[in-house]
Symmetry: C4
Subunit: 372 residues, 4 copies
């Protein structure tokens, strides 16, 4: 599939979720016979869903709620919750900002320093609810804050940036040595985004338990316009699933989880991410649509408030249902935003699959959207 763009350049065709669809097999099943269980390291989940570490998606409360509903909420430890004692009024203010001013005001709000004591407090709150605890740092802050985080007690440590590589080169400071860091840490680490086979393979070799596939924040991201970078998700997930397979062989049996992070906005997208080989999905906008989401009808990622180069937007989202209804229904709309897990079960049943690992083998067709 190599394409000649011109005399001096070749490229590969890459595919987005909108470019593909899954097709039924010759077998069908009952939705009740389908399992959506997922586990990573020692942690078991009913559903392959992580809540994205974005302030519009995951607060301590929604991390707890998502945990009780069978998923894993990941708190952004560099968000408003670790910068302010009580971010509720700020979240309300963000939801009130006129369109043209939102980025500038968010740049201000997020310039407040992170407070280690708030990191401890927020994680303790989640832990006390009895659910699996997960928090996220950027690679830039990991060195500075990880001891606080570990001491506060996370079960799953997430290192998440637009792009995280195993080989960061810096002339100004000693970069984070991911391999040593992960080796020294007691808790499983999920790290990303990675967008290519090679980048993911190198991340797997650092000892990570899971790799986030993606680049930036999907619906709310403008990296293609700003940076010229774009990672069509269907191809990226399939490439990283290829790295998982090769690393499994190379390592003599270490299975590193592939987590699609970006571009997963509807139940149809969840189906496609898993079909391309993902073990789980990290949801942003899909959960920001909950009536009880902290974003109050808005959604944004960390790129949106970068001090000098914002690469994302605050977008308005519909709020059709509560978090529980978004995951488990019942739905009274039919657009893939509600009853995500019911839709996943129905899709797996209709196409004849009974568990997520099997479902990764489902047949896929290329068919650009908006036809038929």
């Amino acid at each position: 599939m190599e394409i000649e763009l011109g005399r001096a350049k070749r490229a590969r065709r890459a595919f987005a979720f909108d470019d593909i669809a899954v097709v039924p097999s010759r077998r069908t099943r009952n939705p009740e016979d389908v399992s959506t269980a997922w586990s990573i390291d020692a942690y078991q989940f009913d559903i392959p869903v992580l809540g994205a570490p974005m302030d519009s998606v995951t607060s301590p409360e929604t991390a707890i709620a998502l945990g009780k509903l069978g998923g894993l909420g990941v708190l952004d430890l560099e968000g408003l919750w670790t910068r302010y004692d009580d971010p509720a009024s700020l979240l309300a203010e963000i939801a009130e900002l006129p369109c043209g001013e939102s980025i500038a005001r968010m740049q201000e709000l997020y310039s407040e320093p992170i407070k280690p004591e708030l990191v401890r407090e927020r994680l303790a709150q989640i832990r006390s609810a009895g659910v699996t605890v997960a928090g996220s740092l950027t690679p830039q802050r990991t060195q500075e804050l990880y001891e606080t985080v570990v001491a506060a007690g996370v079960d799953v440590f997430v290192i998440r940036g637009t792009t995280v590589s195993a080989e960061h080169v810096s002339s100004v400071s000693e970069p984070l040595n991911l391999k040593k860091f992960i080796y020294d840490l007691d808790v499983p680490v999920i790290v990303g985004g990675a967008a290519t086979y090679t980048a993911a393979l190198h991340l797997m070799r650092t000892g990570a338990a899971g790799v986030l596939v993606g680049f930036g924040g999907g619906a709310a991201s403008t990296t293609r316009a700003t940076l010229g970078i774009h990672v069509p998700m269907a191809t990226a997930v399939a490439d990283v699933a290829g790295a998982r397979r090769d690393y499994l062989d190379e390592s003599g049996g270490r299975y590193v989880h592939v987590i699609a992070d970006g571009g997963v906005g509807t139940s149809g997208d969840i189906v496609k991410a898993l079909a391309m080989g993902a073990d789980a999905v990290m949801l942003g906008v899909a959960l920001a649509r909950a009536t009880d989401a902290p974003g109050r009808g808005f959604h944004w990622g960390p790129e949106a408030h970068h001090a000098t180069l914002p690469r994302g937007k605050r977008i308005r989202v519909d709020q059709p249902a509560s978090l529980e209804e978004i995951l488990y229904g019942p739905a009274s709309v039919a657009d893939g935003t509600t009853n995500l897990i019911g839709a996943l079960r129905k899709s797996m049943a209709t196409t004849g699959y009974s568990d997520l690992k099997e479902f990764q083998r489902i047949e896929v067709v290329v068919s650009p959207y908006a036809t038929d």
Copy 2:
């Protein structure tokens, strides 16, 4: 045409009706010399048209009307007509519902139990008009209701679901054994939707007289957004036509009819479905546009009122003409919604073909819509 989506996944390019068009040959004919006759089992029809078992399309009255006009109306035996004595007021109510509330109210209306006596009554009404009688059940209800249906006297028995497979797997109940069921039954069975070569071939081996090709309800369906499943119809019909050819050989001469069900909205789509190898088409939205259609300017499928996971919409449709004019003209609009059969004849004549079986060999080009 296999495409590498990424390291761990390959896919086939699939085509929708909008992606293709037929082209003239070197010969032309008079429209009067063209035959659109179709027969299945012992039943003869002037036109290769089935009315879809959807409450917005087929009532006992429109089944009779379509029969008299040369086609075959299929009544949904799990629709409003077998749940309520007089559904007219409910159909009127559905047509009055505000957009945001239509799914929720339909979920209520369709939770009323099915009455076997109404099944008998509706079918008897159609039979008494002297036209071919056809009724449709889902696989889930077939076991429960088929004896009523057969006793009531259907000429053609339709088993229709989003996806119907010859190998349904269930841990909770004994699934319908299609092969035994069809073998035991005296009436010809049309079964589907099937979307792939293999699924269709297995359905053909059950003894079905016809296979419905498609998945969900075309214009009113949102399965791509909700389930991630999409069956581009041009490819699906051509694949199932391939299964027909191979099964004809394997069975020593049994010809199973291929019926395109979904995505056939205009006369142009009918032409393309037949060109891809269909023997007939099952029309939904195309007939819901009749001024005398039961949907009263709206159209919806059974997926739209699923209790917990609706995967369709109630859509508003234009009503340019009566059922008779929709089929036979004259037309005073030029958008492929009126005089469907006149357009089919003209298309066959212009491209030089004289009957439907020949027309399946017509040359086709790939040319995405909205250009030229």
Copy 3:
């Protein structure tokens, strides 16, 4: 480039003018050094432009005007001008009709019988102005009216229908034997539309001087929605140009002109039609945009008023300039609708070509529209 649509069907990818563009060569020229001359049979023209036989484009007056400007106007001898003594008021009425009613009223207007004396009168009017005289009939009417037409004195006889084949099959009447007809006739015949290599080759073998490439009326046509037929023009012109080349060899030197008829709406489209191998273009909507065009700001083709199966629309068009300015400028808009010939000269000069025959060899790229 054969594509598998599904198991039982293959297709070719076909291209529209919008899918392609021409690219400069290594040479440039002065626009003044470029010739746009075209000749067919004994007739010489400054520009490779025929006015389409459509009532919104060609009246006796505009046929004369176009002739004086260097092109060839073709009068529709089955249009309003041969049905009514004074069609001016009817053209004005059509331009006033509300959108929803235009087709129905045009169906009425065009049901008036054709008057042979008006055929004579209109052609005599054009002849008396001293320009080349061309009139058009459909194949269905040719038998009935050609003697009138020839007696009235046409220089170029055009037989034009949606699709015209050399092998029309009819059980009701003896079809026109094109080969015999053309052989017996003294005047050169241009015949079409033809859309494929084979159909065109057969038309060339009838002795035609030129072949119209296309199917239906471009901008105003809805044949894809109604008949499922679509002829992407770039591919169609290149295929028929291939037939011209092969027939030149087979016939020992007869050069049959290839005239693109349909989809040629802007100066850019003219450039592309010639680049694909056309010798000339037949313009519809491009000339209907003239302030002095008979359509008075509207455009429609004969398909639009078919009695039972209209397959076209009356479309509203901008009127940026007079016929002379549309052809030769100066332009004060920059959208390809004005100064068509100036643009053609500039395009040929910029890409380094000096005459139309050479220009057919220009390099072309595939690049779907709406990008860059």
Copy 4:
């Protein structure tokens, strides 16, 4: 990648910037470690940015400002600044013109003769500010005006037209002999647009220091509609980069700079142009968006006011920031229009590259826009 368009024509698939994106490698860097330095001949620049010779972009003042900010402003020596003593009021008038009248009025304004003394004056003004001086002529005017220009003292001489070839053929006047002209001149010459490998190779052989890649003015151009010519920029840059490589070998080491000119509207486009092999970019609309740009919220190219065949538009542009902020931020919008150089650095850092020459090797994917 050759495609058969039809029997008599083949074409190559060509790609626009919107069709492609760059993807991260396995390495990441700090933005501070990235160099965006560019040099041509003896001139060094901090950033690979030329201001396009268009009146909406480059005035003497903005040429100076851009020079001080590290780039190279190129003054159009056939624009308003060399036709009028004080064009400020005319620029204000253009910004006030109603849409329908802008082309006609610009045709008038630009018919004023060029004054050699104004050429001298404008260049002297730029020189006196201590920045690199560059001015642009069309090939048609070069003979007439170059001595004035050289005497006035330019550091870099730009010859720019829609298409400039090394072999212009004219029957009316002796065309500019580029090779002799450049050989005789003391200053480095940048020449273009060129759109193909062959055209660029021939321009390189004339001794040019740089070649402009493109055809017409990108955002403000309508050459595809008017002339049928279109140069998808990704392919064009890669083709000309191929010519640079081959000419480097053929000439024994002369490195001719490749400058993308057209279609570079956002920071993402800059990234892609460099990724395809460009050494620098010439920016039009991207700089016309500055609050201090001479276009005052409008943008147009020389094609827009062609006397008889305008092939461009005056387009309205947002003005989100000053020239300095457009280049270096901080940005408070996230659409690729502000902090162009910050975005370039971030993109290079994120994908692991440290200088522009290396960055030309970055991996690229084909992924049509508007998906994901």
